[in-house]
Structures are given as structure tokens and as C-alpha cells.
């Protein structure tokens, strides 16, 4: 199994005036292709910080981060933007759609920055929209959609460039449990189709969808366990750091 993400002793420190906040205190972790990982932990433990670093939105204070074997911890802003565009699909708790643009344009957006021509953009975007089951809503604005539908648009946008990993930071945090479950079914499906998924959640039943659970406390990995009882899965267990 090829390793997609390799963290070696990653730390993240924020300077708050005189005070230093250690959000991550040395995290070492490997995640392979087609894994389905849930990251859990109490509030303030560093989950989002870790996701942002994995998603190349943020850079670690120290440590080594390799994405598909490429060292990204020393890349500049523009290189990171390119990685985010090509390799990462990010899904947020608050959807983060462009309010003034319709579904199609929201999903097309990463392809515009990726340099696709308009015919390719339309084609890929419509495929992604179809995957999340919103073909008939492609010309609606976000405020004309339900929360669950908005999150589907965000997932379509994350998928559209065919990234190596799908990151979701509390994707169901703003949804009721029924809608949340539907979104999780979608993630399950995407995983079955071969995507690598990492999601952050507080809820055990959401985490139950994943096949591996990483618990974080106070910037450290507290536990890292495989969950195989729930469903027969196609991937084999791998070593963890």
C-alpha cells in the first residue's frame, strides 16, 4: 500500500503575545491510499490544526511532512496553492461555498485555478455534481439549498480535481443527525470508489464509519486503532507510527 501522508514529528506552535500555544507537540503518522480515518479528540486538542497542515493550508513549525513522497513542509505559498488545487479536497463544517455563485460555478472553481478549459470544466463539474446526486440543482444558489445539499456541493467541489485525499473537518457538525448520516453514506460510497478519506468528528457514530481511529489529546496522538468489525473492507491493515 502506498503511503499518501507521512508526518514525522510535526509540531505547531502559535505565538499569542508573550504566550506560546503548542497546538501540536510532535505528531508522527502515516496514512495510506484508500484509508478511511477518523480523527477524534476533545475541543482544542489540535485536530483542526492537524487537518490544516495535512491540507497544506498551514505549515508546521517543525517536523517533516511528505505528501505522496514529496516534502511539502518547505514549499512556498504558490507551490502549496498548487498542491491544494491538485492533491487536496477539503470539506468544511460550515460548507464555505461562494454565496453569489450557483452550484455549477462553485464546483468548477478549482478547475479554473487548475487551468482546465471551459468544456473540460463543465464536464468534470457535472460528473462530480452527479456523484453527489445534485444534477437537477446545478443552477441553484447555495441559499436555495438545504444544509445537507450544501455539504454535497462542497463535497463535489472537493472531488472535482480528483485529489489524492479528501479531508473533512467536522463535515456533519452543522447538520441534523439524519442529514449527517446521509452525508456519511456519501463518504462511505466515495471510500468504496477508492478515495482516501480523513475526517474529524466528535461523534462516535460518525467515527464508526471510518476504519481507523486516531485520538488526539493536547497535541499528541493518544491512540491509533483499526476498526475492522463494522464492515468487510477491501484494504489490509498497515503499520502505524
Amino acid at each position: 500500500m502506498s503511503v499518501v501522508i507521512r508526518f514525522r514529528d510535526i509540531t505547531k506552535m502559535y505565538q499569542m503575545g508573550m504566550e506560546e500555544v503548542h497546538a501540536l507537540r510532535g505528531v508522527t503518522l502515516e496514512i495510506s491510499r484508500n484509508e478511511y480515518v477518523a480523527i477524534m479528540g476533545p475541543s482544542g486538542s489540535g485536530k483542526s490544526t492537524m487537518m490544516n497542515i495535512i491540507g497544506c493550508l498551514d505549515t508546521p513549525t517543525s517536523g517533516l511532512y511528505e505528501l505522496n513522497g514529496v516534502n511539502v513542509s518547505e514549499m512556498n505559498d504558490n507551490q502549496l496553492a498548487r498542491i491544494r488545487n491538485k492533491e487536496i479536497g477539503f470539506v468544511f463544517q460550515t460548507f464555505n461555498l461562494l454565496a453569489r455563485s450557483d452550484v455549477l460555478h462553485n464546483v468548477e472553481l478549482p478547475l479554473i485555478y487548475g487551468g482546465y478549459n471551459s468544456a473540460e470544466r463543465k464536464k468534470h463539474a457535472m460528473e462530480a455534481i452527479e456523484k453527489v446526486g445534485l444534477t437537477d440543482r446545478s443552477h441553484h444558489k447555495p441559499n436555495e439549498l438545504s444544509g445537507g445539499q450544501r455539504q454535497r456541493v462542497a463535497i463535489a467541489r472537493a472531488l472535482v480535481t480528483g485529489p489524492s485525499i479528501l479531508l473533512a473537518d467536522e463535515p456533519t457538525g452543522n447538520l441534523d443527525s439524519k442529514t449527517g448520516a446521509e452525508i456519511m453514506d456519501l463518504f462511505d460510497l466515495l471510500h468504496e470508489q477508492g478515495n482516501t478519506i480523513i475526517l474529524v468528528t466528535h461523534e462516535e457514530d460518525i467515527a464508526a464509519h471510518a476504519h481507523r481511529r486516531v485520538r488526539i489529546r493536547d497535541g499528541h496522538i493518544e491512540s491509533d486503532e483499526l476498526v475492522t468489525e463494522r464492515r468487510i473492507v477491501s484494504h489490509t491493515p498497515m503499520t502505524t507510527a
Partner: protein
């Protein structure tokens, strides 16, 4: 290449959407640009009108005439050197008349101010011009009534005169002046004719408040023939003005017995120099005008900058989203620069629409038209103001940290 086009298109779409979402604010913001562009266009139009009026004036005087004089036109000369030059005299006029070939006519000209009287009517300080029969040809003026002096009368220094239209109107409001005797200074002159009205030369001095007399008479009654005069030379054609100039320069140098390395001790002036002088003055007027209008554009630009900072702040979250999905810095920069340029361009277009009817009002005073170049310049300027004043806010937007921007509420 295509990616830039697509990003530009995306930027324009966002710009129009943002402007549409904040119509009132956008309109108010463009107001500064509108005012700036209106003043730039009107200033440009007025300058254009001024220069057209000037060109018309000098065309009337004649661009094919060379003025041989002691003093060169325009500034920047050594006053003392010129002051000490020998005067031009009738002798030089004769030399030119004898030797010059590429000329149509040559007239010696000199003048002084005298009162002109007819019976009880007096006109004070009329310019008495002493010249010869060729003057009509040389100076491009026409006789309105009667005739000009003949060569014979001019040579013989007969006591005859031709009146400028203003003098004629003043002395002979009802009577026919032809054949009447007027007194120029203390001497009697018989009136041969009246010249056509010529109007003011750029409002400087009236060309009609004059009396023309034979130069040979002038030398007897008003001024010694040894005193300085000037000589007007009309070239054979407009195309040959430069050759004529060289020819008379050679004749003059010979008459003055100048060594090859000595400089000319006379000046050959032409309208071109006047045009240059005007252009210098016009340039100063334009510079001052444009400085003032530039100031209003500057104020407009500050307004744009201010509103762009607001726009960037308001859309911090959007910037974060775009960055999160892989927009590089330059795309964000481009997006906000385009927005600011579009706002200013709209302001510029509104400004032109307002300026056009106003330029028609200017047209009443100074016949002109809003030149197309001014329209182009105004549009370029407005885009430029947009880019310059949008740069700082756009740069700030492009530098936002994606995580911070996403967290912004």
C-alpha cells in the same frame, strides 16, 4: 496563456457581481472618478479649442511670410547682444528686392503712433505704417473700398494714405472717405482707400486701427530713413519657405558683410516660432490644468482605494475559500485589481457621457469638438487610476493567510 484568460474572465465575473451586489456604494465610489474624468475631458477639449482658434488666427496672417527683424521671436536670447545689433534699414530692403529670387513680394515696414484727424474728429494713437505698394500682396489683406497706393505713389513718397477699417469708421461714420484729406500727425494725406476689417490678432492689438502711408513719405515726416525698420518677405510658395529663408539669409549676410564664422546679426522670424511660443504657453496652461484635474482624480483614486479595502475585508472569507481550493496569490491580486479597474472604467464612461454635452457648451465659446484622443486618454486614465489605487488592497488580499481568512466571520 489560457489560464490567464480564464482567470481574467472569472475576475471580471466576480467584479461585476460585486458591483451589482453593492450598487449604491459603487455609484458613490465612482463619483470621484466621474468628476475627475469630466474635468480631464473638458480641459482637453478646451485646450484643443484654444489651439484651433490660434491656428486659425495665424493662418490669416500667413505662414508663407518671413519677417526680417532685429529681434528674434520667442524667449531665451541674449538681450544685450541683440540690443547692440545694427538696425535694419531701407538699404537692406532694397538689397533684398534686387537679389532675392524665390519671393513673391517684399515690403519694408515701419511704424509709429500719431493722432489722425478729419475736421473735428480725432483718433488718438493710430499706428502709422510706412510701407510700399507690395504690402497688399505681402500681408494678405484686401481693399474694401477705393484702392491701395501704386508703386509710383509709393516710390515718389506722395502724401496719400489707406485707412484701416476702424480708423475709417471713426473718422467717416457716414461720408465716403475716398478723396478726403486727413491729417496724420501734422501732415495732410489724401485717402485712397479703406482696407477690409481684419479683427484682432489673438486680442493683442487691433490690426484695423492703422493708417498706411508710402514709406518714402514716412521717412520725411515721421522718422529718419536711417532708423530701424523691418522687412516682410513673402515666399513664392508655402513649400519653398525654407529655401526663401536661406536665400534672404545669404543676401542679408552679404549686405552686412559678415564673415562665415560670425553669427547672424539679424533675425528671420516666421509664424512657426510664434506657434512654438504658443505651444510653450499652451503647454504651461495644459500642465496647470491637468495638475488640477489630476488632483481631483487623485482624490477619486483615494476613494477607490478606501472602498477596495472595505471590499477586501468584507470578502475575507471568500478569499480564504478561494485560497483553500488552490487560487494562487496572483489570481487573488488580479481579481481585486480587475474589480477596481472595472469600477473606475465605469466611472470614466459615466464621466465621458456627462462631459460630452458640456463640451458642446464649450463649443459655443471656442469652436471645437471633443477629440477622440481625449476620449481614449480618459478611458486609459480611469483604468490606470483603478489599477494604481486598487493595488494596495489587492496586494493585501493576496497575502492573506488562508486559515485566518477562512476563520474570519
Amino acid at each position: 496563456m489560457r489560464i490567464y484568460l480564464d482567470e481574467t474572465k472569472e475576475g471580471l465575473l466576480i467584479a461585476f457581481a460585486a458591483i451589482r451586489a453593492n450598487k449604491m456604494r459603487s455609484v458613490l465610489t465612482t463619483l470621484g472618478i466621474v468628476i475627475g474624468i469630466v474635468s480631464v475631458t473638458l480641459m482637453g477639449t478646451a485646450i484643443e479649442g484654444l489651439s484651433r482658434a490660434f491656428n486659425k488666427s495665424i493662418a490669416a496672417v500667413g505662414a508663407d511670410v518671413l519677417y526680417v527683424q532685429k529681434w528674434p521671436w520667442g524667449g531665451g536670447h541674449d538681450w544685450w547682444e541683440i540690443r547692440n545689433r545694427p538696425d535694419l534699414t531701407i538699404r537692406h530692403a532694397k538689397a533684398l528686392e534686387r537679389n532675392a529670387e524665390i519671393v513673391r513680394s517684399i515690403s519694408p515696414i515701419t511704424g509709429t503712433a500719431r493722432n489722425v484727424t478729419y475736421q473735428s474728429k480725432v483718433i488718438e494713437n493710430v499706428i502709422v505704417v510706412g510701407t510700399d505698394a507690395d504690402f497688399l500682396e505681402t500681408s494678405n489683406v484686401n481693399v474694401w473700398l477705393g484702392r491701395f497706393m501704386t508703386a509710383l505713389e509709393a516710390e515718389g513718397g506722395r502724401p496719400v494714405c489707406v485707412l484701416g477699417s476702424e480708423v475709417a469708421e471713426g473718422l467717416f461714420p457716414v461720408e465716403n472717405p475716398i478723396g478726403k484729406t486727413v491729417k496724420v500727425g501734422n501732415y495732410p494725406y489724401r485717402v485712397l482707400g479703406v482696407l477690409e476689417k481684419q479683427g484682432n490678432f489673438l486680442g493683442m492689438q487691433s490690426l484695423d486701427n492703422r493708417v498706411y502711408v508710402p514709406i518714402n513719405r514716412f521717412f520725411k515726416e515721421f522718422q529718419s530713413f536711417r532708423r530701424g525698420i523691418e522687412i516682410w518677405v513673402k515666399s513664392s510658395s508655402l513649400e519653398q519657405v525654407e529655401e526663401t529663408k536661406e536665400e534672404i539669409r545669404g543676401i542679408m549676410r552679404k549686405a552686412r558683410r559678415l564673415e562665415p564664422k560670425e553669427k547672424d546679426d539679424f533675425a528671420i522670424n516666421q509664424q512657426e516660432i510664434l506657434v512654438q511660443t504658443f505651444n510653450q504657453i499652451g503647454g504651461v496652461i495644459a500642465a496647470v490644468g491637468l495638475f488640477i484635474t489630476g488632483l481631483s482624480l487623485f482624490v477619486g483614486g483615494i476613494g477607490i482605494m478606501n472602498i477596495m479595502f472595505v471590499s477586501v475585508t468584507e470578502r475575507t472569507k471568500e478569499i480564504g475559500i478561494r485560497k483553500a481550493i488552490g487560487a494562487p496569490k496572483r489570481s487573488i491580486l488580479l481579481q481585486f485589481l480587475l474589480e477596481s479597474a472595472v469600477i473606475c472604467l465605469i466611472g470614466g464612461i459615466i464621466g465621458l457621457i456627462i462631459a460630452f454635452p458640456l463640451s458642446l457648451i464649450i463649443d459655443q465659446v471656442l469652436p471645437t469638438a471633443m477629440p477622440l484622443s481625449v476620449v481614449g486618454i480618459a478611458l486609459v486614465i480611469s483604468v490606470l487610476v483603478g489599477v494604481v489605487s486598487g493595488f494596495l488592497p489587492a496586494y493585501r488580499a493576496s497575502r492573506l493567510d488562508p486559515v485566518d481568512a477562512l476563520r474570519y466571520e
